[in-house]
Symmetry: C2
Subunit: 583 residues, 2 copies
């Protein structure tokens, strides 16, 4: 049977950085050529970064992407990659642009270009647009109607884009066209505890298509999302032929021996999940026989390592892709800010991590000593600025009491962090965990202040677990555990009034987190949560806390946003991107 050396380029693209992303493509194509690769596949929207959200509709970006993909084809040939077939995601435009209700402005399409010998030999637009969870693609893209089958070295290769794989159609089309390989570029974000749904899906579609399936995904952070890579090649019997690591860039090279292309072709008017088939022959002669490489299959990360790595990746890319080098945050000596410190040190290096200790009249001695111990162990920089004199100066005019007085302390700290951030250029991090944010155990414009909140999606029980895990691997590696044991073992407290403990206001964290998992993560109604066996009074208490907190959080948005239209909502464009209108 003919052979094909396939490479999956699992890379970290940056939204809006067309020049940097094109350089990444060229670099990986050259590496692929050096390794004798015949076909290299890049992730979804490689050239523009992903997801673009409403940026996809900006005419200047569409035009730059259309011109950019043409230039990239020429450049690849110029740089010695003309024989290689490269599949590169980019932003295109439906040729017969319509300006009508229901058509996104400027008719953008989420496309893949098949590049060979300095030219684009085939183009395909995503058909099934991702429009649930964090996806809102129907708002931004016009759906495509074609699935390409391209012949490379006498092997027929079918192409599907990300969400298309989750629906019926592409695998049926691949089977109908007798394609031996189905390649799928993706932009698929990480979720914790998702099991191995990707492999199961890929194996199922490979079996349906009676072909080998190659799935390539992005890596890196984008706003609140983290892409975890985990690119896979699997055959029709479910055997994994290659699998890349998680979170890190990688060029996964897999040697395949596949059935030769046949003349089988469905009739012109046949449709597969709405898609018609278009066939393109690039090279019909099989490549000269060669010795195949051994298959590579990366070790899977453990649950805690996987989550911790996602947190490190998300923070690192948020900071760097936004043009910062260093971060600053309040270090109370508690477990949350200490875990954030450990993540930040791992992501950015201790020289770029600045903790600020802001003791109040009610801060315990161990708060200060635990923060200092963490700084000593990791080498991060720790400054201490007591808030008592500032607190007194406010209270001379305000005379606040109760909750207002507690919040005042948290807000004084935030003003200090933002002042130091403005003066020295560090990005401010918020250290809240998911359990306290979900229940509103947090001060708006106080500890909630920050550009990025590394552990906002980590429940408190998992905060402790990750802290213990991080210390354990340090021991395994023969390093000093970064997190002081006392920080892990002491009872949590906000220290905003004398003797305060979290348990005064919240249910025990193990019970709380179990209900939050059902009500927030799994989005069950309260009746269904109770039906799982949780105490009804506890469920009632937690659901009330969550609903009230969500309501409060939304009442106080970040501050005013600017709308595209009067009285409209803020434009939905990514936070992290480098696209600029040039005049």
């Amino acid at each position: 049977m003919p052979q094909l050396r396939l490479a999956l380029a699992q890379v970290n693209a940056t939204v809006g950085d067309l020049v940097g992303n094109a350089d990444l493509v060229v670099e990986h194509c050259k590496a692929a050529v050096d390794q004798g690769v015949h076909l290299v596949v890049f992730p979804e929207m490689m050239l523009t970064g992903y997801p673009l959200e409403d940026l996809a509709m900006r005419l200047s970006l569409i035009e730059a992407s259309k011109a950019g993909i043409e230039a990239l084809a020429v450049r690849l040939k110029d740089e010695g990659c003309g024989d290689l077939v490269a599949m590169v995601g980019y932003l295109d435009q439906k040729p017969d642009v319509l300006d009508a209700p229901g058509i996104p402005k400027n008719a953008p399409q989420n496309n893949v270009a098949v590049i060979h010998d300095g030219a684009i030999v085939a183009r395909q637009a995503k058909h099934h647009l991702w429009n649930y969870g964090v996806g809102d693609e129907i708002r931004n893209f016009v759906a495509g109607d074609t699935i390409n089958v391209v012949q490379i070295g006498g092997i027929d290769v079918a192409l599907a884009i990300c969400e298309d794989l989750w629906r019926d159609g592409p695998s049926a089309a691949a089977k109908a066209a007798d394609a031996a390989l189905l390649v799928v570029p993706n932009g698929s974000p990480y979720e914790a505890d998702k099991d191995d749904v990707r492999l199961a899906l890929c194996a199922r579609r490979a079996a349906e298509g009676d072909c080998v399936l190659a799935y390539v995904n992005l890596v890196g952070g984008q706003d609140e999302l983290v892409f975890d890579g985990d690119s896979i090649v699997v055959d029709a019997s479910g055997t994994v032929l290659g699998r890349s690591g998680q979170f890190d860039p990688e060029l996964l090279v897999v040697d395949l021996e596949l059935p030769a292309a046949t003349a089988t072709m469905p009739s012109d008017d046949e449709r597969f999940g709405g898609l018609k088939i278009k066939r393109t022959i690039i090279t019909s002669e099989p490549f000269a026989a060669y010795e195949p490489l051994p298959t590579a299959q990366a070790e899977r990360l453990s649950r805690n390592e996987e989550i911790y790595t996602a947190l490190v990746t998300g923070l690192r890319d948020y900071v760097h892709k936004n043009g910062f080098q260093s971060v600053l945050f309040g270090m109370s000596g508690g477990i949350d800010s200490t875990l954030v410190a450990a993540i930040a040190v791992d992501a950015l290096g201790p020289e770029n991590v600045n903790g600020i200790s802001n003791p109040s009249a009610w801060s315990s001695e161990h708060s200060k000593s635990d923060a200092a111990e963490m700084a000593k162990r990791t080498g991060l920089s720790l400054d201490t600025i007591p808030i008592a004199p500032i607190f007194d100066s406010y209270q001379e005019s305000l005379h606040l009491t109760g909750l207002a007085e507690e919040n005042l302390q948290a807000r004084i700290r935030a003003v200090i962090w933002m002042g130091l951030s403005n003066q020295h250029g560090h990005l401010v991090l918020a250290c809240g965990n998911k359990s306290e944010l979900a229940t509103g155990y947090s001060t708006i414009y106080g500890d909630a202040v920050g550009a990025y909140a590394p552990i906002k999606d980590v429940p408190k029980t998992l905060v402790w677990e990750l802290a213990r895990w991080r210390n354990e691997i340090a021991v395994e590696r023969g390093e000093t555990p970064p997190i002081p044991e006392a920080t892990i073992s002491k009872p949590p407290s906000a220290e905003l009034r004398p003797g305060q403990l979290d348990s005064d206001s919240l249910p025990p964290y193990d019970l709380l987190d179990a209900v939050l998992d059902a009500y927030v993560e799994r989005d069950l109604g309260s009746a269904a949560v109770i039906a799982e066996g949780h105490d009804p009074a506890l469920v009632h208490r937690v659901v009330t806390l969550v609903d009230r907190a969500e309501y409060k959080r939304r009442q106080y948005p970040p501050g005013p946003k600017v709308s595209r239209r009067n009285f409209g909502r803020d434009r939905r464009v990514p936070i992290t991107h480098r696209w600029r209108e040039d005049v």
Copy 2:
């Protein structure tokens, strides 16, 4: 020809308040019966409020809405409205629920129920889902496939829901079925300077359908949106038969004389923009002849009155629907906070408006005296809390300079407002205008702090225009103009350093606002803005300011949000709603 007395119930529904909204329906139905009405039509999603965003997918809300609409039908009969035909929007569920990719969770539908004699005699789901601008309905609703034609008093009445009217289909279906009246419930938000596109559209569709068209819309504020009513009845020749006022609730009653229903009916498999027709006969006998009422047509508001009323409506409903009575904000004596004060006094009454003057070492005498003059003229409450001692207490530790020092003052003020808000229960307002927010002339966590920003969508030049207009109508009404003349005429300044003026940092506001209108409002690329005749250097400067400000604003979100799924985006549910999970 048969007669029909039609009422359009232009009401202010509240998202999630099913009990309150049902009461509104009953109240208006009883008023309609008292006036001899045969058919009353309520706006889109009347029972649940609109827009629901991701709340639409909550099973408990869907079930409450389905039960609620059945109960409402029974209650209307019990309360003496059994003979009346009422069309009421509500949240329903596609009967054969699918849990599959591409189907919104729990298969919600944006429905209208046709209620008569204690029962629901027809149901219709919205077909064309609004998915651009502030609409994201494809994410939340399953599309319908049917257009209803119901016969009332021997007259055939066709039904279309909001966005369906903007597409081809409903008017063609009405014509094909020989319907004499096409009724359209809407949730259509206000936009400034939209001209009279609604009337033009209604007249066009009436002509296409060769029928009378009745368009009914919501009124009131919902988060950042304001619904302006403006319900319309227009015939096939474009003659307006009735039109309600803007922004206020109203029961618009219109007498129609219409052709009797014919037996004309398209074949079962004919489709109109994807819609099939379903016919229901409620009453086929014409109503006894009666003396028609004169037509009512409200006076249109002038541009400034319209915008000012939208601002008052939006603020009033944001405060009240979120359970607050009173507001608090920084009053600098400048034009922005003074206009906000005038809007707040008109929306809530002076007894619910609290201004805080926070002079610094660099505040001018006129700042303090102008704020005091405004308070004196309107009766709002004004407190003065100087920030110099607090500023000094921060600077003893921080020694901030330049921009960081300027921002510190703005943030000290915000901490004072939030402290007083927590202590006394007032909602904090942010007073920034669109020109300064768009260009980033504002402090994150400083003057940008607030639950609601009444003039965030008002450019600076319009701030002055509205202030002058508000004073002029006061004079016309023989009242004291609320806004001190000096506040309107003095040059704008942030007063964060000695002698500072806005013009040190920004282009003149008339030039700035013209470019912002093109670049932000009309979403033109910079090349197109220059092609309109603006100075390229000015365009470059403004575009750079806007892009950098947008980027900065997004880097510092409000603080962490809580996601439904790990690493996902915040749930998209409305800020203002009263829906609660009961256990």
